[in-house]
């Protein structure tokens, strides 16, 4: 039982989709391959799907007199959950976060439906060595309710009235439209990317920790103008990438590139001295987190720019030297 099996593959998926149609044209087959396949699939797949004179196709379609194509099969391809998919689902039902999506009754019903299916993995088989200890309370009913309200509001683009406790413990009341829910495994928390509204006008992007939301009320209003996630996140982006030089000692290059793998980056290695220069793009709100993580590498990493980021690093290092009277 492996996920690396052709039944989950792109070619099977496309063939299944096309066989689910009663009638289609050659053009539609090509377009589906183009849309659903890999970049080069158009070079390989259509000739297997379309009837060929030499019989080298898979024999799934026959041509009608008006040059349409109809499947040789009689039913839509059945969609069965495989044993592997059921085992995965069974494992997920043991995760406390599942109650953000299902009621306990629904969870129990699914467990019953899955019967003796063994979970694909168990939480006890994993240990998160450096996950923060103040994760969100997934089993708290009020938290679950707020999570669902936000999820619904994202779909409907509803304007929400939110009561929120800020990081400085201030109570805030604001109107916002939620856009995306973000989970961090490191923080073990959800956050909501929102557009804050003042009256009908946008007051900019705001990021709320779900665990600090006291209450949420749907105002019944909807934001008419949809903002693409791409545009939204572009506005949060740093103006210039951070540029760092990573030295080869202490296996720092490998450690750095692995740790910063989630970032969009550009790397270049100097073959003579083994140093690696990396440009990292980050969200402006994460700059402090980025800075302390970079300082965590100590002298095997140097922040080259932008000047403001380097200056902040230098300040901390100078302060450190003063404290140690070095």
């Amino acid at each position: 039982m492996s996920i690396f099996h052709e039944i989950y593959g792109v070619y099977y998926r496309i063939a299944g989709k096309l066989l689910g149609r009663e009638r289609l044209t050659e053009q539609e087959i090509r377009e589906t391959v183009q849309k659903e396949g890999f970049r080069d699939s158009v070079l390989f797949l259509p000739q297997k799907l379309l009837p060929q004179k030499d019989g080298s196709d898979w024999g799934f379609f026959r041509r009608t007199k008006d040059d349409a194509l109809v499947p040789v099969t009689k039913h839509k391809p059945p969609q069965i959950l495989t044993g592997l998919q059921k085992r995965w689902l069974r494992a997920v039902l043991d995760d406390p976060r599942i109650l953000l999506f299902l009621t306990e009754a629904e969870r129990l019903a699914l467990l019953g439906r899955l019967g003796e299916t063994k979970p694909l993995f168990q939480q006890s088989q994993f240990r998160y060595t450096d996950q923060f200890s103040d994760g969100d309370p997934y089993e708290d009913k009020s938290y679950q309710q707020i999570f669902r309200q936000i999820l619904t509001a994202i779909r409907k683009q509803s304007v929400l009235a939110v009561s929120y406790r800020s990081g400085r413990k201030n109570q805030l009341y604001l109107h916002c439209v939620p856009l995306k829910l973000e989970y961090s495994e490191k923080n073990d928390k959800f956050r909501v990317y929102c557009i804050e509204l003042r009256g009908k006008r946008s007051a900019g992007a705001i990021l709320l920790n779900l665990g600090r939301i006291r209450s949420v009320r749907d105002t019944g209003e909807q934001r008419e103008k949809r903002l693409s996630a791409e545009t939204y996140f572009q506005k949060l982006r740093c103006k210039e990438p951070a540029v760092v030089k990573v030295f080869p000692e202490r296996n720092a290059v490998e450690r750095f590139l692995m740790e910063f793998a989630p970032y969009e980056k550009r790397t270049e290695r100097n073959i003579e001295n083994g140093c690696c220069t990396v440009q990292l793009w980050y969200d402006r709100q994460d700059e402090t987190e980025l800075l302390i993580r970079l300082l965590g590498f100590g002298p095997v990493l140097e922040i080259l720019g932008p000047p403001e980021l380097r200056r902040k690093a230098a300040e901390r290092v100078q302060m450190q030297c003063r404290l140690l009277q070095l």
């Binding site: 099996h5 593959g9 066989l19 039913h75 995965w88 740790e259 793998a261 989630p262 070095l326």
Partner: protein
Amino acid sequence: MSGFSELIKNFDKTRDHIRDFFIYGFKVRSDFSRKSSRTYDDERRRVESWLGDHIRYDNTQRGRQISLTVDSGHIAEDPLYQAYYAKSFTDNDIRLHFLLLDLLADGKTHTLRELTDRLDTDYAVLFEEQTVRGKLREYTGEGLVVTEKHGKTACYRLSADTVDSFWEMCAGLTDAVRFFSEVQPFGVVGNSILKCIGAQNDVFLQKHHYIVHTLEDETLSVVLHAMEEKRYLTFRVFSSRSALTDASGHDARCVPLQIFISVQTGRRYLAGYVPEYQQFSAFRLDFIREVRQAETCSDYDRLAEQLHRDLPKLFGVSFGMRDPAGAVEPLRVTLRIREKEEAYVLERIRREMRSGTVERIGQDTFLLKLDIFDPKEALPWIRTFTGRVLSVEGGCLSVRNQFYEDVLRMQALYKESDHVDIP
């Protein structure tokens, strides 16, 4: 064109190339010395075909470098899942798949003979019974088909576990799968369900998201199974990613007990007991290959209990400088934190602290006491408090020296605070 296929038979080779493109990103053609240049060209072309939107080309002094560039925090779906969806197959595999499922879609039970005959009569394709039996047996293993014995005759029917039969039970299941399909391990399985129902994740993002972990799911699957069955594991260990060649690795054997995951560094480890050295050890999951289950370990429960007892003294994954009595001198770090203005730093310490305590020992002065096996592991974390450290004591001499030497080296690095030449 001839000879090239965008589908693959073996995941291992491709996994290494994808990882090189994604993690390192600075390699040029000549750096891929493991196989021939033609193999490299084929692998590169496949990766371009699967992940075209994320490929970046840069001309450098060393040549043209290809990298996979992904801002993992802002993507809806792990693009590396595509590699799992590229398994090769034969023409007969796909014909049998759709035609057999079409015959079985009537919900009735069929014999092998009946199915083989109807492949011929209904679709004009000839298969030997043996071939059809093989496919039905395979699909029984995959859970698509149910085999029943009617007397001495094996009969086959489609599994009743249709996607619809699950999805009609609760409306929130699609969103649950959307979310968990991006959570590792095995998120790719959830993604395959989303593909099945024609849905996409359009709501959830993952911060600190190590999408590359998906490439180890096959290895992990064997490890977890061995843990479940309380068996030994054998595998080959490689010392670093840059040397994943047959020659550089060595054989190892351990009792697998837990997977350690660092959510901050992206490193994952197989933690187990190594009989050869009579101690616990942790192996980087992405540095092991050819993982095989071996015999059952009769001592498994005792070892698991022992590991569990040791966990509170593990800062990360290293059992490093533990003495036989299990005692090490705690590392003591004194920090200056302005209590009123910088309460957030204290909050940070409390949520990030592990294997230790934090104590106020004076105005704006706090003592972190880390009672851990390997004090060296805590150094990167301590350095995140650069600018606040009053002293580092305890632990061991080499760690204390390294801390102070590192501060001096950093002082030299940042002496010129504003102006540096950026290449």
